[in-house]
Every structure is written in structure tokens, then in C-alpha cells.
């Protein structure tokens, strides 16, 4: 066959495309379990780090130990829009009706189920020709850190728009649901060295020991002060401010805003717990 004839070109092009697709499909399938573990590990590591483990401690552990530790010491609390606790089984049932396989779901952590469910929501709403909120039961989740059965902290996911894109993180609260144990941002697109400093220990470390409730018990959250907060405030008032990142006013403000918003969503639920004493 002539090398420049149309039929040769066709056959060659098809062969190359098929070979490339098969190769990529194989690679994708072969690496999928490993990728899922990587995503899972990432979430778990962040939860561990916000509940007080240092990076060195986490790095020194094996991946399997980290997952085992998560399974042993952490629990996910799933709440609906009205702050009623939802059972994992109910969420699973929801997912089963949309066509997920039972044995697939058994392998997953609750937080993975929630993200699966949220992803599916948009598609479902689109099919029914309705907006997502009509379908959305408003599920939100938080994590409990309870090593050896003793509740040590509540871990709340926070997320919102920074300067360049979404920022994702966690804030951990002590069982009094007032004092901060730690804050951590694990995914963002802020400029390294400016807004990107938000992930650095010098910034997040400031949150440790701060309070989210004012003296009379009303919700207040923690603001990010432009400059050094200690120059202006003193005493207890300092419990509600951290120093901002210089050169990153928008990122700093954004963090203060979405942290407040996300904490507020849980405030009603927290109030019930505070009233009923520590669980």
C-alpha cells in the first residue's frame, strides 16, 4: 500500500488512535483504586492535622496506619438542613435509589458518600428540570475526633471564594464548641507568598485558642485583622482576631467571611449540644 494513499493514512490514523485509547483506558482503570486511596488519604491527613497532629507525626506514619487511625478515632456526623442528624443508612438508601451498587458504597467513608451524593444532585435536578436547591436536603457534615472514645474536637469543613478561586479547609473546635483547636487550608489557588501564606503554620497557628463566641454566648466568629491585631486590641478582645496576611487583604477578608458563614450554619446544632452539656 502506498504510504501517502488515503487508505493507508486512514488505517494508520485509526490504529494509532485505538492503541492510544486502549493504553489510556488500561492505565486509568489500573490506577483508579490507587487514586481513590490518594484522595481519601488527603482528606484524612488534613483532618488529622487540624485536630492537632504535627506534619512530622503524620509523615512518619504509614498510609495504612493513617486510614486505620481515621477509622478508629474519627466519626462523621451528617446533618440535614434543619440540623437533624441523618443516619448513614438513609444516605446510602438515597444513593442506592439513584443506582449505586451496595458493595461499592460499603467501601466508602461517610464523607465520600456525601460528596458522591452532592455530585449526583446536580445531575438529578437537571434531569427533572428543577433547580438544585429543590432536591438538596442541605446535607452538611462535620467530623468528631474521639480517640479512645473521649471526644476531643469537632472538625468543621470551611470553604469559600478567595482571590483566585475556591479555598478549602477545616476548623477544629474543642468540646466546649467555642475554643479553636486548629485551622488548616488544604486546597486553594492563592498566590504563593501572598494569599498562599494562608496555608502556612504562622498564619493558621494564630487561630489556636481563639474563641468563636462572645462573652454573652452569642455567635461571633474570628476576624482577620489588617495588620497586627495586638496594636489595637488587648485582653479578651484579642480572642476574636488573628493578624492578616500583608499584601493579601482580599484573601484575608475572604477567609474571615467564609469561616463565619460556615460556622454559622452549624451554630444552631452547636447551641443544642451546648445546652445539653457535652455529648
Amino acid at each position: 500500500m502506498q504510504k501517502n494513499s488515503n487508505s493507508y493514512i486512514f488505517i494508520f490514523a485509526i490504529t494509532v488512535s485505538v492503541a492510544a485509547s486502549v493504553l489510556l483506558a488500561l492505565a486509568s482503570t489500573a490506577l483508579k483504586p490507587r487514586k481513590q486511596i490518594a484522595v481519601k488519604l488527603d482528606v484524612v491527613k488534613n483532618i488529622l492535622s487540624v485536630s492537632g497532629l504535627s506534619d512530622e507525626q503524620i509523615k512518619s506514619k504509614k498510609d495504612t496506619d493513617i486510614l486505620a487511625m481515621y477509622e478508629k478515632d474519627f466519626a462523621t456526623v451528617l446533618l440535614d438542613r434543619d440540623n437533624r442528624q441523618v443516619k448513614r443508612e438513609d444516605l446510602e438508601k438515597n444513593l442506592l435509589t439513584i443506582g449505586y451498587k451496595k458493595e461499592d458504597l460499603d467501601q466508602l467513608y461517610t464523607f465520600e458518600l456525601i460528596s458522591l451524593f452532592n455530585k449526583k444532585l446536580g445531575i438529578m435536578a437537571g434531569k427533572a428540570g428543577k433547580s438544585k436547591t429543590d432536591f438538596d436536603p442541605g446535607y452538611k457534615s462535620l467530623f468528631l475526633y474521639q480517640p479512645g472514645g473521649e471526644l476531643k474536637s469537632y472538625i468543621i469543613p470551611i470553604e469559600g471564594n478567595g482571590l483566585w478561586g475556591m479555598m478549602y479547609g477545616y476548623i477544629a473546635l474543642q468540646p466546649d464548641l467555642n475554643t479553636v483547636t486548629g485551622v488548616r487550608f488544604y486546597k486553594h489557588q492563592e498566590t504563593p507568598g501572598l494569599g498562599g501564606e494562608a496555608e502556612k503554620p504562622w498564619f493558621t497557628g494564630q487561630y489556636v485558642g481563639k474563641k468563636i463566641l462572645s462573652d454573652d454566648g452569642s455567635f461571633r466568629s474570628i476576624d482577620v485583622f489588617k495588620g497586627k491585631s495586638a496594636d489595637v486590641y488587648s485582653g479578651d478582645e484579642l480572642n476574636y482576631y488573628v493578624d492578616g496576611i500583608s499584601g493579601a487583604t482580599i484573601t484575608s477578608k475572604a477567609i474571615a467571611n467564609f469561616m463565619k458563614e460556615d460556622l454559622e450554619k452549624f451554630e444552631e446544632y452547636f447551641r443544642q449540644i451546648r445546652k445539653g452539656g457535652n455529648q
Binding site: 489510556l24 490506577l31 487514586k35 490518594a38 488519604l41 488527603d42 507568598g193 501572598l194
Partner: protein
């Protein structure tokens, strides 16, 4: 283009082969002399770590793509050669991306879209078209390695300067002594912004061309 290697007669690392590796490192560096692959050289060089992973990824992809295209060089119809090369390159890039996602998840999050953009890195297509399509697999492999490393060295150089000047760290470890900060020294914020990369890269090109005495013909 005339690297006619006579098999069995020449040593594995003859002069030509050595040149294939050495040339792109200095005399014919893809970034500083051919000014290719600038986009990623600017984007991933705020830290040493990302620059290193990027350099390795590009070297791996360019070496494999050169070998594959060299093996196919007598089969590829000239009319569709560019798209075939791109298919090979993009498949390899997607593979690298998948492997990064599976085994270096944190890194793949940081590199995000830039791994995918290796596909559009002109160095890869340039070497495929300019070298691998007319040369045997082994010299093509060396050419790929050489160009990948030539690209990587500049990347690391830019990243080192940007990270040290801009953040005061090297591979995430603080290198600018605290004493210097106390004396009033401040990190140069401009260095971590895109313009900083332009300035540094421009200076590197200037210095490199002055030393190597290789200029574009006017």
C-alpha cells in the same frame, strides 16, 4: 539532522550521541536559545519542588515520545505526522498525570493544569519533528533526555532564584537567616508573581548568551 549511526561499528556513546545529550544543556538550550517552553517555565517555578517534578515529567515524556516517534518514523504518513506526534505526546502526558494523581497526589494538586499543558510545550513537538522523525531510536532517546534536562536545569535555576528571593526558602526550608530579616531585609514579593519570572528568565537568557556567545543571526 544527519546523525547517521552505523550500527555495530560505532561505540554506543560516540561523539554524536554525546552531543545529542550535551548540546541542549548549554549550546542549544531549548529555553534560553530556542526560547521554547516558556509558558510552563514561568508558571511552575515559584517553588523548587514543583519545578523539579515538572522537569522530571517533561524529561520522561520527551524521552518516550522521541523513542516512540523514532520507531514509527518510517510508518508515519507525512500528511498527518504532526497530529500523530501530538497523539503520542498527549497520551504520554495523560499517563504521567494519572501516575502523579495516584502516587503523588499533593504534588499533582499543586501542578494542577500545568501537567496537562506539557502537551502544548513546544519543546516536545519540536524535538519530535526536528529530531526523532529523522533519527534512530537510541539517538532520539538521548536527544530527548538532553532536551528534557536542558529545560529542567533552567526551570530549577529560575525556581531557585524565585523561591530564595521571593519567599526566603529552598525546597521549603528557610535559607535566609533570621538575622537578615531582623536587619530589615524583606522578601521580594515581585519574584513570586509572574513578572518576577519574566525578569529572572530574561536575565538568565542574557547571561547565558553572553557567556556562550551564541546569538540569533540578525
Amino acid at each position: 539532522m544527519t546523525t547517521a549511526v552505523k550500527e555495530n561499528k560505532q561505540p554506543l556513546f560516540g561523539k554524536k550521541e554525546r552531543e545529542a545529550v550535551k548540546d541542549p544543556l548549554w549550546d542549544n538550550n531549548p529555553i534560553t536559545l530556542q526560547v521554547l517552553g516558556i509558558c510552563s517555565a514561568l508558571a511552575v517555578t515559584t517553588q523548587m519542588q514543583t519545578a523539579l517534578v515538572m522537569a522530571i515529567s517533561v524529561t520522561v515524556v520527551i524521552s518516550f515520545s522521541n523513542v516512540i516517534i523514532s520507531l514509527l518514523r518510517n510508518l508515519i504518513p507525512s500528511k498527518i505526522r504532526i497530529i500523530v506526534m501530538l497523539t503520542v505526546i498527549s497520551s504520554l502526558v495523560i499517563l504521567v498525570d494519572q501516575v502523579l494523581q495516584a502516587f503523588m497526589y499533593d504534588m499533582s494538586k499543586q501542578l494542577s493544569v500545568f501537567v496537562g499543558l506539557i502537551i502544548t510545550n513546544c519543546i516536545l513537538l519540536g524535538r519530535a519533528e526536528g529530531f526523532a522523525s529523522t533519527n534512530k531510536p537510541f539517538p532520539s532517546l538521548l536527544d530527548g533526555l538532553g532536551n528534557g534536562m536542558g529545560y529542567g536545569i533552567i526551570l530549577l535555576l529560575v525556581a531557585a532564584l524565585r523561591e530564595i528571593l521571593g519567599v526566603g526558602t529552598f525546597f521549603g526550608v528557610q535559607v535566609v537567616p533570621d538575622a537578615l530579616y531582623e536587619m530589615g531585609y524583606k522578601n521580594i514579593g515581585l519574584m513570586i508573581l509572574p513578572p518576577g519570572a519574566f525578569i529572572i528568565l530574561g536575565m538568565i537568557i542574557w547571561v547565558q548568551r553572553t557567556i556562550s556567545k551564541k546569538y540569533e543571526a540578525h
